[in-house]
């Protein structure tokens, strides 16, 4: 007897579940458009599942599961920051549209190569309402926009959805309004003339429904007032009736299962102890768009004095998406209470600059390395020429500010595509007449201009160049053609565009550590050193910045970097361990 009863009960539960699964595929209104006030987060519920609904400043409406993936706190008590939603509990931020987590304040130096993403649901905005459905199918949405409309105040009713739906039509017909139950489950009530109200019943939970209506007309203020008041009165009476009928109905609340996260998100990421270090914690105190696609960040220490920097220095930014990027400091002498960097948006880049442009906000904590200088400035020069291309301005600006304050002679050439691309205008103004801006020159004209600038190499004259690869190469060639000595030409590449060949196998002998290690194809010297507990400093790890430089005692170096100049290469006693390799079977390194 008990078994039969239990089986029946199980069947009923199963039927209920199937019913819910079917309903989850349908679209329902979950909010009025007017609920999504600027910078507000609205809490909605559909079939037992809670949603955090918010409109970003760009107009996009987000419907997310109402729990932060970290500790389950409702996101509807979070803060809508316009482009991101910030959780109240630990300040985690989730991006508009993707719901991907962009910032974890507890670990500014963490660079987990993983994506923490909240659950999002389909969304549409039609006839003054926000529509969603947990598993709603895109093409099933059949409601047409109404050019004229008045949205009724939604009325919640403590009664099951099907009961409300079944009775609403009868209730209006008792009031002498005819109507129709449409195939999609909505109810059309004819008010006479051509006026109709379309009703939708939102199933919030097993015993909670919301009646949402829209009239196919726009009303003048006074008429609108009376219409809304009248309909409100009618539906309130309906509500009382429905709640009376279902008062003694004993229904279990619907269960919205919590979806399991992937295995790797269930454990905190392990942190690498070896490698590039992020020893500083800086917070973003200012963020300005200094030109069309360059954002200038002012970074301040959170406690104590910042380490000293020299003109030409750069810092590594350890971004929360796992990338590490180098940016030159723009600071001049004495500007020691902050660091300033300029970040150009590289649309086709590998994601570092895009991350900074899209995610980094004033107040954020960033993990960075201490400043490092592999592009030092000589101050014993009688005359210095700076040639900056685009964002290559940043280290050169720091250098020229230093020379400027020492009243040393220099000229500063800045090549840009257009007026809109001129960054750090305020600083350039201070440097005054020494700055010559070249706008919109063709490749050929740029080369001619550079040749003119470099016409006269001379006694204690130095050249500093920073810019895009092709421009840098052209400039170096012109300088060399015009007989500038190698040690008067100083340059810094943004990146190493050369194709790295890492096919060779060879041995390295560490003279000071009495260790012999094998570097096999596919591995770099730097990696092998680290795997064996020898931790060299490094930064860009692509042969552009010069941080991982070591002295070579013996062996034939296979240079693949863009940091060393021709003379340094010819000397055969220095190499970049991140990309360069050996042509001989063995290299003896001075480490």
């Amino acid at each position: 007897m008990t078994n039969v009863r239990e089986n029946n009960l199980r069947k009923i539960i199963c039927m209920e579940k199937n019913k819910i699964y079917a309903l989850r595929k349908k679209w329902f209104p979950i909010a009025s458009s007017s609920d999504l006030v600027k910078r507000h987060v609205f809490q909605a519920q559909l079939l037992g599942r809670e949603f955090a609904v918010w409109r970003a400043d760009d107009g996009n409406v987000n419907v997310w599961e109402n729990r932060c993936l970290h500790r389950g706190v409702r996101l509807s008590i979070g803060i809508n920051q316009g482009s991101e939603l910030k959780c109240q509990y630990h300040g985690w931020r989730y991006a508009n549209r993707t719901a991907g987590c962009t910032y974890i304040p507890a670990h500014p130096a963490d660079a987990p190569a993983r994506t923490i993403c909240n659950n999002t649901y389909p969304v549409k905005e039609f006839i003054g309402m926000i529509w969603s459905g947990e598993d709603a199918i895109e093409n099933d949405f059949s409601y047409k926009e109404l050019s004229k409309r008045t949205v009724l105040r939604p009325v919640p009713i403590n009664a099951p959805n099907d009961l409300v739906q079944k009775n609403l039509l009868n209730y209006y017909s008792e009031l002498n309004f005819d109507g129709l139950l449409l195939n999609d489950g909505s109810i059309e009530i004819n008010l006479g003339g051509k006026k109709k109200i379309l009703f939708f019943i939102q199933p919030q939970d097993s015993k909670l429904s919301v009646v949402r209506g829209v009239l196919n007309a726009t009303l003048s203020d006074e008429k609108r007032y009376h219409f809304l008041k009248e309909q409100n009165f009618i539906i309130e009476r309906f509500r009382e009736k429905m709640e009376q009928i279902s008062e003694n109905l004993n229904l279990e609340p619907m269960v919205a299962e919590i979806e399991e996260i992937s295995n790797d998100l269930g454990e905190p990421p392990t942190k690498e102890d070896c490698g590039r270090k992020a020893e500083l914690r800086l917070h973003v105190s200012e963020r300005i768009l200094t030109s069309r696609d360059v954002v200038s960040l002012k970074l301040k220490g959170i406690e104590g004095q910042l380490p000293t920097f020299h003109p030409g220095a750069h810092i590594d930014l350890h971004l929360q998406n796992g990338l590490i990027r180098q940016y030159s400091l723009v600071n001049g002498p004495g500007e020691t209470d902050h660091y300033r960097i300029g970040v150009k948006l590289e649309k086709d880049g590998r994601g570092g600059s895009q991350y900074i442009h899209n995610n980094v906000k004033v107040g954020d904590l960033l993990a960075t390395s201490a400043p490092r200088n592999n592009f030092p400035l000589r101050r014993d020069s009688l005359y210095t020429i700076f040639i900056a291309g685009g964002i290559g301005i940043t280290p050169l600006l720091s250098m020229s500010k230093a020379l400027h304050s020492m009243e040393l002679d220099y000229e500063f050439h800045y090549f840009v595509q257009s007026e809109k691309d001129i960054s750090f205008k305020e600083t350039l103004k201070i440097l005054g007449e020494r700055v010559i801006i070249h706008k919109g020159l063709s490749q050929e004209n740029t080369i001619n201009k550079v040749r003119k600038i470099l016409q006269k190499p001379g006694y204690y004259k130095n050249l500093y160049v920073c810019g895009p690869g092709p421009m840098l190469e052209a400039t170096l060639k012109i300088a060399s053609d015009l007989k500038w000595a190698d040690d008067t030409i100083h340059f810094e590449y943004f990146k190493n565009d050369r194709k790295i060949n890492n096919d060779s196998n060879f041995e390295i002998e560490l003279a000071r550590s009495a260790l012999t290690l094998t570097v096999s194809a596919g591995k770099t010297i730097l990696e092998i050193l680290r795997e064996n507990g020898v931790d060299l400093p490094s930064s860009c790890e692509q042969g552009a910045c010069g941080t991982c430089k070591v002295n070579v005692i013996r062996g034939d170096i296979d240079h693949q970097d863009v940091y060393l100049n021709a003379t340094e290469r010819a000397n055969k006693n220095i190499m970049m361990t991140c990309v360069s390799r050996s042509l001989s079977d063995r290299l003896i390194l001075d480490i």
Partner: protein, 286 residues
């Protein structure tokens, strides 16, 4: 939902129901809820504490007086309660600092108590402040003797770490979880080499409803009892709305329900510890 009678881990446990200060010396009978059961308690003329189930006046429940609190067991009482030696040290002030009702599980409350990452957001300007948001690496262990979760070398920037502080310091902490629903926080005191202790004893009324009993065992003698109470109330008052907005309210023991980070090492160990004990009441396993 689990009944406490299906869960020996919760049933055969000492549970705090009241501070002695609250019931002393009146002969008044108090009523509360423990593991879904209504229980009554009083202190009689001989300072003896009596606890009984509602409707069973003649059957006194096993009771223990320890650390300034009344502890009760609804099942088979364990022989001992965890050790808290600082309570008996001379020169310390032992004070119950208030009870706060929260609609959450005991596990969620303990976990929040041991969490530093929320200080700059939930206790802004008091226990933390942006941009000092980093949770630096610390050590956690689950020890066998005593059976507890222990987090040491914890550091966090605090603009105002206790009632007497006026400026920011990098405060040092130790967290102990010596009982499934009790946690102790140790932090530097005004006496060199000695640590103040902040106490959280949680009374599970229902799976998702608790009374959080707070107390202090400290060397501070400059602040009044009222100041201390107000400070604790402010802190717990800030935590309450967060705790009541967590979903699920019961503590997830399945590691794939929430995403921890390194800062959550204590919580990870605590959840693992509870899972190994087989606790069901107030938790979600699947």
């Amino acid at each position: 939902m689990v009944s406490a009678f299906q869960d020996p881990v919760i049933l055969n446990q000492w549970h705090p129901i009241s501070s002695l200060e609250e019931i002393n010396p009146s002969e008044k009978t108090f009523q509360t809820l423990l593991l879904d059961e209504e229980i009554l308690y009083k202190m009689d003329k001989e300072n003896k504490v009596l606890v009984w189930r509602k409707g069973s006046r003649d059957e006194n429940l096993p009771t223990k007086l320890a650390y300034g609190f009344v502890w009760v067991c609804l099942g088979n009482p364990p022989e001992t309660l965890f050790l808290f030696p600082e309570f008996d040290e001379p020169n310390r002030k032992n004070k119950a600092t208030g009870v706060i009702g929260v609609n959450t599980s005991a596990g969620r409350a303990i976990e929040n108590f041991c969490d530093m990452g929320h200080f700059p957001y939930v206790h802004k300007g008091i226990l933390g402040e942006e941009p000092h948001t980093e949770v630096k690496n610390y050590d956690v262990e689950i020890s066998d003797e005593p059976d507890e979760v222990l987090a040491t070398n914890c550091k966090f920037f605090q603009p105002r770490a206790n009632v007497t502080s006026t400026k920011g310091v990098d405060a040092d902490y130790i967290y102990r979880v010596p009982h499934i629903n009790c946690a102790l926080l140790y932090k530097s005191s005004i006496v060199a080499g000695k640590l103040d202790v902040i106490v959280l004893f949680v009374q599970p009324m229902r799976e998702e409803q608790i009374r959080a009993h707070t107390a202090m065992c400290i060397f501070d003698d400059s602040s009044t009892e009222k100041d201390i109470r107000l400070f604790q109330q402010l802190i717990f008052g800030q935590d309450k709305p967060i705790l009541e907005n967590q979903h699920p309210k019961r503590l997830p023991l399945n590691p794939r329900m929430e995403t921890p980070i390194r800062a959550d090492k204590t919580a990870i160990s605590y959840r693992r510890w509870l899972l190994n004990k087989g606790l069901k009441y107030g938790t979600v396993a699947n």
